[in-house]
């Protein structure tokens, strides 16, 4: 059933994102073409170039905003709003409902970043080759320094994806906790979200303080450089994983045991 839910979720959100990505790429290409025309003293040509750059920059910002708004809207409208009457009467488990929303949101966030970078690459003359070269250098720097370093690089990248997962789940948790309130659930969800991010920052700071005040030099110094790298990356990943798991559990309990559709 998760596959079917993903199909409809991608279809529903794709009709917003895909045309937007298309428009972003087209505007970037048009702007680049305009940029490649030499003004040769004709001031009139500078205006379209400037407009193109401004429009592309605005669209880059808009892609991020749309990804955030759709994440909030899909969860609130499709699960906690009127459409929830259909979604929660489908013969699917609560986990499938949460996973379908989460996977699709994270995919759109990552794709938005890819298309944003792609638009910048198109827009900036002569930079495309440099960026591709830069990506090659980046991968060479990140990988090829031994198995331990490569492993920790993969774990750090995974932690980056997990931080997006955490951010999406924080929105879901706040929205589902708002069901505890009978009125002004939108406002309550925003309040819960502020509370969640504040608590997460406090816990993060406490963990960091604790980690820097422990005297583990005796055994730490005995470890090889590679092992330290791996342990460091695993600690970062584990923190993101535990944080995401905690939010997932709260969301799941709220939707499974405390569902209160208005």
């Amino acid at each position: 059933m998760l596959g079917k839910l993903l199909k409809y979720e991608f279809r529903s959100t794709g009709r917003v994102f895909l045309p937007f990505y298309g428009a972003l790429v087209v505007v970037a290409i048009v702007t680049r073409i305009l940029n490649s025309v030499k003004p040769s003293g004709r001031v009139g040509l500078i205006a379209p170039q400037l407009i193109g750059i401004v429009v592309t920059a605005l669209m880059l910002g808009a892609v991020c905003v749309i990804a955030i708004i759709l994440t909030i809207q899909r969860f609130n409208r499709n699960l906690l709003g009127d459409e929830g009457y259909l979604m929660f009467t489908l013969p699917v488990g609560t986990d499938s409902l949460i996973w379908s929303k989460l996977i699709v949101s994270v995919v759109w966030f990552l794709l938005s970043a890819v298309f944003g970078l792609f638009a910048i690459a198109i827009l900036t003359p002569n930079l495309t080759r440099e960026i591709l070269k830069g990506i090659g250098v980046l991968f060479r720097d990140l990988f090829g320094h031994g198995a331990a370093r490569d492993f920790s690089t993969v774990i750090y990248l995974l932690s980056g994806v997990l931080s997006v997962v955490w951010a999406v789940l924080s929105v879901y948790t706040a929205g589902s906790l708002a069901m505890l309130v009978n009125r002004r659930r939108g406002l309550a969800a925003f309040g819960f979200w502020i509370g969640i991010t504040t608590v997460a920052q406090i816990i993060g700071t406490l963990l960091l303080t604790w980690a820097t005040h422990i005297d583990y030099s005796a055994w730490w110094n005995e470890l090889s450089y590679g092992t330290r790298e791996v342990l460091g990356s695993l600690a970062v990943c584990a923190t993101a994983l535990v944080g995401s798991a905690a939010l997932y559990i709260i969301t799941r309990v709220m939707l499974k045991r405390r569902l209160n559709l208005e």
């Binding site: 259909l86 929660f88 009467t89």
Partner: protein
């Protein structure tokens, strides 16, 4: 075994009591009228049976199981509000139901669409509220469910469509399936009811066979309703 059984079902919204220790049993093959004025707890009761609300106290069993993924495959629910994805066409929402419910009949759905002169190519966003309600009812009745829970199925449609809806419910009669209809338009549905449940301020005041109630009180269900719920 009863298709729906609830015991001591209570729901509070803050300090307000919406359902107060409701205990009921609905047997298979019955058409049951869940009758009561606005705010009597009908919608709350149906939402709890569908797992859309968590009861404050008490239990509900659908075919012997608490509401969950398993019960949703045998319950067909029509809520009192429009729950359709506006961006879809009628044909796409039929595909959606067909994908998720193994007991959904596309043939039946298209046949009902034809009878009501509705086009499958129309986008749901462009349909009127009444037409959307008809589409929802078609989707719900095109399933071969064990239990149909219909919240105000005739409230928002014109009298001609009302007759068609009631005929559809009767035509779909199956000795294994039960239909629970919540409404306050008693006169329109009285003739098709086997059993009647009166809800008043969240409590069950009457729960019996329709004929038994008529005989006992020497009046129609509509008349009894007017007497019980006199303002």
């Amino acid at each position: 075994m009863a298709i729906l059984e609830c015991s001591g079902l209570t729901k509070r919204y803050g300090t307000r009591l919406a359902l107060d220790r409701v205990s009921l049993t609905i047997e298979p093959g019955r058409i049951v009228g869940l009758l009561g004025p606005n705010g009597s707890g009908k919608t709350t009761f149906l939402k709890i049976c569908n797992g859309l609300l968590t009861p404050s106290n008490g239990t509900v069993l659908i075919d012997g199981v608490a509401p969950g993924a398993a019960t949703k495959s045998c319950v067909s629910f029509l809520p009192e509000r429009t729950y359709l994805n506006d961006w879809m066409t009628v044909a796409q929402i039929i595909d959606f139901f067909s994908d998720f419910y193994p007991d959904f009949s596309r043939e039946k759905a298209y046949s009902m669409l034809g009878s009501l002169n509705l086009s499958s190519r129309d986008r749901l966003k462009t349909l009127s509220k009444g037409t959307k309600e008809k589409v929802q009812l078609i989707l719900v009745m095109a399933r071969q469910a064990k239990l149909y829970l219909l919240d105000e199925p005739i409230g928002g449609v014109d009298p001609a469509a009302r007759d068609y809806i009631l005929n559809t419910i009767i035509k779909n009669y199956n000795p294994e399936a039960s239909v629970v209809l919540s409404t306050h338009l008693i006169a329109d549905i009285e003739t098709i009811l086997d059993d009647v449940i009166f809800l008043k301020d969240g409590t069950v005041t009457h729960a019996a066979a329709a004929d038994e109630l008529r005989e006992k009180n020497n009046m129609s269900i509509d008349g009894l309703f007017r007497e019980v719920f006199k303002c």
